[in-house]
């Protein structure tokens, strides 16, 4: 009797999660797999086959776009880590208890504004008639208005801005758990500032670094708005290809295949990253 109730409550508690996983994650993906493995042989006639994947390999522009998306995402992740780490360290270790909360809140503020509005904010700043260009004209530093939009630098800057928060949050929570005495012990035993950073702070923060990097990389590689709006047609982001296949060309089979390729590619990069840094998901993401 008692065990029946226990089992029932477990089932009830578990049900929403199971439904969510099954209906919103598993089922659509199964549908996508089936879709991506259909080849169009004649109008409304389909056959099972790997044609969509073969098309991808045979057309350099596709896999170039995927590689470009991947490498730029890695760059964005790296920059977010580089900029985010000192900020997180300051919030977690140097700022006083009261300013800690305020600073953390300041980091969260951009999240209250939608991605779209934030991207348009950048456009207002960086377009030919925008704030930056007008200001430079006014100071006399340039003679003609400059278009800052629609290049890779802008895309990277915009992406770093969008995702850096997801780097800072796990870093702050990991660094917060570090005893100050550990850093002091590092100095006390003769370590220089660099040694303490390299041998103590970074290894300690590794779970936060890895989980932040994974989240940021996945978000960047899968982002659509920021690269399109800030990079225009030049951005060649892979999500744009997927969108094209689905919406413009109405080629759902190929779009589904591309979607899967993106998932496989980003998973591969994350796996490689974990291997190279000698970390596992269990002792990093699960811990932080």
């Amino acid at each position: 009797m008692q065990s029946d109730i226990k089992r029932l409550s477990l089932i009830l508690l578990f049900a929403p999660f199971a439904l969510w996983i099954f209906l919103l994650i598993a089922l659509p993906h199964i549908g996508m797999v089936i879709l991506s493995l259909r080849e169009k042989v004649a109008p409304r006639v389909y056959e099972f086959g790997f044609g969509n994947y073969i098309d991808f390999i045979q057309e350099p522009i596709y896999w170039n776009t995927l590689l470009r998306t991947g490498s730029m995402s890695i760059l964005v992740t790296f920059l977010a880590l580089l900029i985010g780490f000192p900020i997180a360290y300051y919030i977690a270790k140097i700022a006083g208890n009261r300013s800690k909360g305020a600073l953390f809140l300041l980091c969260l503020i951009p999240l209250w504004v939608s991605d779209l509005i934030r991207a348009f904010g950048w456009i207002l700043l960086l377009r030919e008639t925008g704030v930056a260009s007008s200001f430079l004209l006014w100071t006399g530093a340039i003679n003609e208005p400059i278009e800052f939009l629609y290049n890779d630098v802008t895309v990277v800057v915009g992406l770093v801005y969008t995702v850096i928060l997801f780097m800072i949050v796990p870093l702050v929570s990991t660094l917060d758990g570090m005893d100050d005495a550990m850093v002091e012990a590092g100095y006390n035993l003769g370590g220089s500032g660099f040694t303490v950073l390299r041998r103590i702070i970074i290894p300690y923060a590794m779970p936060g670094i890895v989980s932040g990097c994974i989240v940021v990389f996945m978000l960047t590689a899968g982002s659509y708005l920021t690269p399109i709006l800030l990079g225009g047609k030049n951005s060649s982001w892979f999500t744009e290809q997927i969108y094209d296949q689905f919406i413009t060309r109405f080629n759902w089979e190929s779009g589904a295949a591309f979607g899967f390729l993106l998932l496989a590619f980003t998973s591969l990069v994350v796996w490689l990253g974990l291997k190279l840094t000698g970390q596992t998901l269990a002792n990093t993401v699960a811990k932080s």
């Binding site: 005495a181 002091e184 012990a185 100095y187 006390n188 035993l189 003769g190 370590g191 290894p203 590794m206």
Partner: protein, 367 residues
Amino acid sequence: MTVTDTPDLECTAVCKDFGQVRAVDNVSFQIPKGSFFSILGPSGCGKTTLMRMIAGFEDPSSGDIEIKGKSVLNTPPNKRNVKMVFQHLALFPMMNVYENIAYGLRCVGTDKATIDQKVKDVLERIALPDVGNREVHQLSGGQKQRIAIARCMVLDPDVLLLDEPLGALDLKLREAMKIELKLLQHQFNTTFIYITHDQSEALVMSDHVAIMNEGRFEQIGRPEELYHAPKTAFVAGFVGDSNRWSGKVSAVEGGKAKVTTDAGLQMLCQKRDGSDLSAGQSVNIYVRPEFISAKRADTGAAGDLNAIRGKVDSVLFNGANSRVLVRGPSGELIEADVVVTGSDSDLRAGDDVALSWSDQQTMCFAT
């Protein structure tokens, strides 16, 4: 002073202010080579601040700190040959035991073979030869303690600072570690400075103890000096247990002061060197429980002793440290050590007793 007897550590008039608060106030002391020195004080007395200044994590507002005769005021913490065992040890959890100990040696650029040898040696000296490959979380509390000490000692420091390192251990282990620390100190023959609020730790292990209160050193001395000849009322009250009465000096004659307590009891106390008591002064009197003898009232007390009659309120049995609480004539509770033998002659609650103690054991401080 010749080179050989340069103290390992000397502080001269060290002060530290945090805003308006003076955390450490004009502290001066010397620690001779190879001794075990404790700084004992209640929490918030400034002992941790003092230690952090010696380690270099805080700069003194004024005064000088010398290690082996050289001022270290402008030396950053990582260049001082003062190592520290932190309160929660601060072992590096991402490194194994070997790496923890080797960390300091790597920082000074020791070559690999020497590191291997030194780590092996120090692990043998702390009697944990086989733990090199273990992770920190696999060690017991006492083992972690010893690794934290080994991690410092492998660097051969001039002074080792210990910041209440036994606080996190359970009672039994704490007792064992007290003895072990003392033995380790003898073995390494390095100067240990031990910070604690636990007087039994300080008294058991130390060659010298400084009692600190509100940023000042109240008294520096050997443990038995502090216990038997406290210089200030704070030391008398803080070190060991004592019964306290407040009162006024009614007369001073022949090196002895007669004191009338607030409750009207008469007590005689020996004047100590350097103290000046005069009639009419208000004083606090401290008497340790082990110097008070409690006997059944019918046996009577000797003439020249301080004596009080009372009734046993309760017997606190604790083996060799058993005590009686006696309700005195004015209702106060007085503690006295007794021997509980388990026979009929033991004191029981409700017995009338005569308490007596000698004037020599009556410590009197002007308030």
